[in-house]
Symmetry: C2
Subunit: 454 residues, 2 copies
């Protein structure tokens, strides 16, 4: 069986993996599949992995902290839906502990290296899930995204990272980081694949998800025309790595096809500051509260330092900052009246593992400049490959839209992907069929089968 | 001029009033009105008052705390809209200080007595605005409602109190109590008048209000049929005052016309507890923070005792309680799948001024049993007169519906009002024209002119 061959080829010491699914677990899934009508299952036989803060019944959820681990009683709802669609879970992946980090190094299971250059970080927190897709081991995987965890490792490993509008994907069975803004995210080699997976996991049901209303828009406001794009007025990117040049190159290409407005990013920067310096860190504390009290040394020292800031905040400050966020959200509406989609670098830089080890908090915070504000504002985003920088590291861009434009964003990303001549992930040969990007991803045939043999 | 005659008849020592508008202020309004097309103004010449936590340009906003007072630079947006519709502001009314209280006694401007029996409380916090309408001095007034402040004094004074869905009415220029859930409320003698005023003040504009999305539903889910009503399964009301009997009587009448389901109120009770014992009190603290630090003795001792509980709460507890609220909100959705409207007593009791003085916090909290949970859950509500209890105090009921059913609720309340043989307010003779309740209030001719001479 192809699946067992794939699994036996996995290296249990691969830092991207926390758990390779045991044979009995995979066997049970295959038996279940045999009972089904193969043709009715959109992901029949497609292997996938999930970040180890997502519950899978019978397996441990560690959140990259062995002392925290528990055996999950039920599948997370998103896992359930993927299995029902025919996908086969083969492993659980490494992450910055408790999904607190954007680097991929904060884990007792090891730092996940960049798939292009092992001196550099993979990005995080969904480091392992991104690495597994970039290397072509699985065609898609699940991560989570609070401050950028589902986009940054996509950008740094030349793959697609789709993070839906908060509230669009059920969060039942996903360990919270910041419960009010967390979203399950999707990694894949192609935009169409990410769109297919989103369409499978996105349905909410009344009984398990908070009552947040999310519109679903098939396209942007102008009906059928090209969306209006915005780009940062004065983007600051790493020059040494060639990121500044790479972004300018991408923007030059985009300007040939779209009307583009320079955007003053001050409001978004202020929102990003709120997330990092505000009381939302108390949400992270709630998840680890018991462990923090009973066995604080079990927590990664950097993660601990970040999360225990929660103890500084009182209720008064919390409400004040929530008001500040509401006010900033209101102010950003003026921007969204001018543009449909904001195009930003996915990350402004890519530090080495060594640089992160020297100053883990500062290097981490630099990475989130273009991701931090997105979930607090209820926006959706998709990170896509853009080019190879002069340093040989991949450079990615992210498209951001107001809440509910998830599928419009997927469609736009497909359109941009069509012109991209890059190989997929880490030098994978599979190319998109020429007609792929022209169809709506929900209608398109998934490229899963192609990707898995890439 | 009738308006000046009305104003000169006001007693400046009336505890319902904090300020009678000076002649120059009224004159300026009249001059403005003369320039307008009288027939185009739905409230032409109609006098009104507002609670003194609502800004009126050029007048002091005291929030019933003279040491806190400031001269407002701009009108609250709701005041602007009413003036533009032709209404004439003649005064600002007393309240429980900082809108913190449901009794109407917590004010250095005096306790507002019940209009039916001066031994009893008026209810609050919008005590003065309710009293002025009940006595027929003005046909409508504005209050605010956080935990019941716009409903309780309506119920205790035999008038209508309409509290829209939080987010439906612009809050610009209204001093916050709990900013995340406050709503401007409307008092009037008839349901149709309240509906008319709502339709004038309700429009949101993008620039001044947080981006909260509120549906607008013309009728309940079943299209044109009667809505399904729910009533508390085991309502507990004061027997001595005859409230228990009065509620049972109301329910008997309602059951003759509607299908009624008994509702277990546990979830709603839990939400009410959250408001009183949870961190939302920190929102009240933010409003008085500077005064609390510079001149704490200026604050009413009971109000101070309530609000300084804010200092006990940290950020972690705040988020936990916000999660708890989201979870309870989710659970109550099951109830709203069964019913369209919940019918409750407006208050379970009406204490004397003496009883409140003896135990101000406990007596206050008893009053909110059927109002506290409403705004936290994002619901809309209208309090309407039901009957005179055996004690001679008015007894009221409140209709509650999910967010966005404001105008459907007004229509239903009009329908119920039609069968009510009570005089209006404090024994006012004006009766509803027979066809009034049959029309949609938005289309109906306002009864303002009738009410003002009542």
């Amino acid at each position: 069986d192809l699946i067992f061959k794939l699994i036996s080829g996995l290296d249990p010491h691969d830092p991207a993996l926390i758990l390779v699914c045991p044979d009995w677990f995979v066997e049970a899934q295959l038996q279940q599949l045999e009972k089904s009508d193969h043709h009715a299952l959109p992901l029949y036989g497609v292997p996938f992995v999930v970040k180890d803060n997502i519950d899978v019944a019978g397996l441990a959820t560690t959140a990259a902290c062995p002392e925290f681990a528990y055996i999950a009683k039920e599948n997370a709802q998103v896992v359930d839906r993927l299995m029902q669609a025919g996908a086969i879970l083969i492993g659980k992946t490494n992450l910055d502990q408790f999904a607190t980090g954007l680097v991929g190094t904060r884990s007792p299971f090891g730092a996940v290296p960049n798939t292009f250059d092992a001196r550099y970080i993979s990005g995080g927190s969904s480091s392992g899930s991104a690495s597994m897709v970039a290397r072509g081991i699985v065609p898609f995987s699940l991560g989570t995204d609070t401050a950028g965890s589902g986009r940054i490792p996509a950008g740094l490993n030349n793959i697609v990272g789709l993070k839906a509008t908060p509230g669009k994907v059920p969060m039942k069975g996903v360990l919270p980081a910041c419960k009010t803004i967390d979203v399950v995210s999707i990694f894949s080699l192609t935009v169409a694949d990410a769109g297919t997976v989103l369409s499978i996991i996105e349905e909410l049901d009344d009984t398990n998800t908070p009552p947040r209303f999310v519109h679903q828009n098939a396209w942007f406001r102008n009906g059928e025309g090209l969306p209006k794009l915005g780009i940062p007025a004065n983007p600051l990117l790493n020059q040494e790595l060639g990121y500044q040049k790479a972004f300018e190159h991408s923007m030059t290409e985009i300007k040939q096809q779209f009307s583009v407005t320079p955007i003053n990013m001050t409001l978004f920067d202020q929102v990003a500051q709120l997330l990092y310096e505000g009381p939302w860190v108390a949400e992270r504390f709630i998840t680890i509260e018991k462990l923090y009290q009973s066995n604080p040394d079990a927590i990664d020292p950097t993660v601990k330092k970040v999360i225990e800031k929660a103890l500084q905040f009182d209720a008064i400050t919390t409400f004040k900052k929530q008001y500040e966020l509401e006010d900033l959200k209101r102010q950003t509406q003026a921007i969204w009246r001018e543009i449909d989609v904001l195009v930003v670098p996915t990350t402004p830089t890519c530090p080495t593992l060594e640089a992160v080890a020297k100053d883990p908090i500062l290097r981490n915070s630099e990475l989130g400049a273009y991701t931090n504000f997105v979930n607090l504002l209820g926006l959706c985003a998709i990170a896509i490959p853009a080019s190879m920088s002069d340093s040989g590291l991949p450079f990615g861009i992210t498209l951001i839209a107001p809440h509910g434009y998830d599928h419009a964003l997927v469609k736009l990303a497909s359109f941009l992907e069509k012109d991209n001549t890059l190989l997929l992930g880490k030098n994978l040969r599979s190319k998109l069929p020429q007609d792929q990007a022209l169809n709506h991803p929900l209608a398109a045939r998934p490229t899963m089968e192609i990707a898995v043999v890439g």
